[in-house]
């Protein structure tokens, strides 16, 4: 008996950590070695990666399949504009405050839409996103239906020069992605994460073990929504312009994110990373084709869902027994 040990980390996960840390240093230095367009693209990649991680936490772990997270992307974006223009806050403070406000808003929202089960929950979240979009379109001070731009004076608070501003918004995106991934990882490794995994595998059994399912799901919904709003703030800090249709776009902030997670591998931490890289690679190749690109994405997502429901990462993991983020326990013989 004593020859057996239970571990979480593996050689692959330790190697991944070292490589990951090295990659972080290289990426953090990007403003010194990357061109302006590349920097922008990378910033966008980090923000999509964050949205994908958060959606994956909800759909892949908590069983909360939402097609309405654009509600919080847009909310975060609008809070950035409202709090800087009318509240006089620094943009970064405004973005963080936007996250806090989103958490507060998400509690009553959850109380309503958690009454809907399964797929109806999904459409319910979409209704909420539409309510947000139509409501913000009514606020004339924020530009109403046509939207508004971030005033130059506020943009300058991020950095006086254009290069400094771009570097700053790049670091903010990178930092946000790191925080999101680390938080999701630590959350899943914690006692609550274990409860979540139990719910994912069987709600009935989890309830039998004394897990408060409603509460656990609520926590995930609130945390994911708050983070999504922060990412939304960062997205519109990059864009510097907001309108209801752009802020609450179901295609941009939900369809793409779902495709990323499904293709990469839902219910894993590695999946969204692989999915994001594939998504942007595909986009760079097919960008000139516009609508064709979206059709291809849709077809790929359907084929993956039918043929390999655990995505690209699922295939790799089954083949090589790899895990870069050590979440599962392994029993190993010491000798």
């Amino acid at each position: 008996m004593s020859g057996w040990v239970v571990t979480r980390s593996t050689r692959a996960s330790r190697a991944a950590m070292v490589i990951g840390l090295f990659a972080m240093v290289v990426l953090a230095a990007a403003p010194w070695w990357a061109g302006r367009a590349d920097l922008r693209l990378m910033g966008e990649i980090y923000l999509y990666l964050s949205l994908a991680c958060l959606w994956n936490l909800m759909a892949g772990y908590a069983g909360l399949v939402s097609v309405g997270q654009q509600a919080y992307v847009g909310f975060g974006g609008y809070m950035l504009f409202a709090l800087t223009v009318f509240g006089g806050f620094h943009p970064v403070t405004a973005i963080v405050l936007g996250g806090v406000l989103a958490a507060l808003v998400s509690v009553p929202v959850a109380a309503l839409i958690f009454r809907l089960r399964g797929a109806y929950f999904a459409i319910g979240t979409w209704v909420i996103a539409e309510v947000f979009r139509l409501s913000f379109a009514q606020i004339q001070a924020l530009g109403g239906g046509s939207g508004s731009s971030l005033p130059v004076a506020i943009v300058k608070e991020i950095g006086a020069k254009k290069a400094a501003r771009e570097a700053m918004s790049y670091w903010l995106a990178l930092g946000a992605a790191l925080i999101v991934m680390l938080s999701v990882y630590l959350f899943l490794r914690s006692r609550r994460g274990l409860a979540l995994t139990a719910i994912r595998d069987s709600e009935t059994a989890a309830a039998g073990l004394g897990i408060d399912i409603w509460r656990t799901k609520l926590e995930v919904y609130v945390v994911a929504s708050a983070f999504t709003a922060v990412i939304g703030g960062l997205i519109f800090l990059q864009k510097l312009r907001i309108s209801p249709d752009a802020a609450f776009s179901v295609n941009d902030w939900t369809a793409f994110v779902i495709f990323i997670v499904v293709i990469g591998g839902i219910g894993t931490l590695e999946g969204p990373i692989i999915g994001t890289l594939l998504f942007f690679a595909l986009r760079e190749v097919l960008a000139d084709f516009g609508t064709i690109y979206l059709m291809v994405l849709g077809v790929v997502a359907i084929v993956v869902m039918l043929k390999a429901p655990r995505g690209v990462w699922g295939l790799i993991r089954d083949r090589y027994d790899l895990e870069f983020f050590p979440l599962s326990y392994r029993v190993r013989n010491k000798d």
Partner: protein, 288 residues
């Protein structure tokens, strides 16, 4: 006062259209517990099919139904047996994500084929014809739409409870495995259910196209209206769905009367209020 009565009556008639959006959704969910995210895009697809038929054959949209309804029904059967049947199971994720993918594909195929310009079906004289009912003027087309909605729901209700096909629907709905043991081919039954649902979608699409202009992007909104009508009326109750559609329609026309920008929002708010007070809808089906 007469203005408000007018708005309410218009809302009731609009509700007929929403009930048509909802009926297919409700039928599919009732038979196979499938929620089709592409439902709204299929309505718009039917409208465009109607457009092509009317332009190519130079016929009235109502005559186009003779082509669009069977084509959509056939498409439904093939879609169900070819793709959707493989997604059904305990996990809700595959059907949701596959129909979501379908929705994006349909939207972009329509965008590629017909461009983003708003289009409309030319209904001719019926579009502007109206009848005067004691001070309230009602359009013939909205009246006809409502009548068709009532007829469609009556037919669906008849099929569901009075025919052997409906018995098959109810059997697989209650227990798929036992229905299979009793000699039903559930894959086929699901295919027929989807065919029937898309036949209703075809009718809804043509009526929508005659009433307002449409473009490839508006499918999501129609799905939401249908869904709201289903939830307001109560899951599994087709007549309830009609009432749900009417409540939604009335909320929207009253909202529009207060402020034109408030129309759609008022409908959503009515839905959320019902969800808060009666989470199972106003007329949930009683389990016998």
């Amino acid at each position: 006062m007469i203005e408000w009565t007018g708005a309410i009556v218009q809302g009731i008639l609009l509700g007929g259209l929403y009930a048509l959006f909802a009926a297919g959704l409700s039928l599919i969910f009732g038979v196979m517990r499938l929620v089709n995210i592409a439902h709204g895009d299929l309505i718009i697809l039917a409208a465009y099919m109607g457009l092509t038929t009317t332009v190519l054959l130079d016929v009235h949209p109502f005559l186009a139904l003779l082509i669009v309804v069977p084509v959509m029904a056939g498409l439904g059967y093939v879609l169900q047996r070819g793709i959707l049947n493989r997604t059904l199971g305990d996990d809700i994720l595959p059907p949701l994500l596959v129909t979501f993918g379908l929705s994006v594909i349909i939207q972009n195929v329509l965008l590629e084929t017909y461009t983003a310009d708003p289009r409309k079906l030319a209904g001719g004289a019926i579009e502007t014809a109206s009848v005067d009912l004691g001070g309230i003027t009602l359009g013939v087309l909205p009246l006809l739409t409502f009548g068709i909605a009532v007829a469609v729901i009556a037919v669906l209700q008849f099929i569901f409870y009075r025919t052997s096909l409906g018995r098959g629907f109810r059997a697989v709905s209650d227990n798929q495995d036992i229905a299979q043991l009793m000699g039903l081919n559930k894959a086929h039954v699901f295919g027929v259910a989807m065919a029937l649902a898309l036949a209703v979608v075809a009718i809804a699409g043509i009526l929508l196209g005659m009433r307002t202009s449409f473009d490839p992007a508006i499918g999501g909104g129609r799905l939401i209206f249908g869904f709201e009508a289903v939830i307001i009326g109560g899951l599994g109750n087709l007549w309830g769905t009609l009432v749900g559609g009417v409540i939604l329609g009335v909320a929207q026309t009253i909202g529009a009367k207060i402020d034109p920008g408030f129309q759609i929002l008022a409908g959503h708010i009515a839905f959320l209020i019902v969800l808060a007070i009666r989470p199972n809808g106003l007329f949930p089906r009683v389990e016998h």
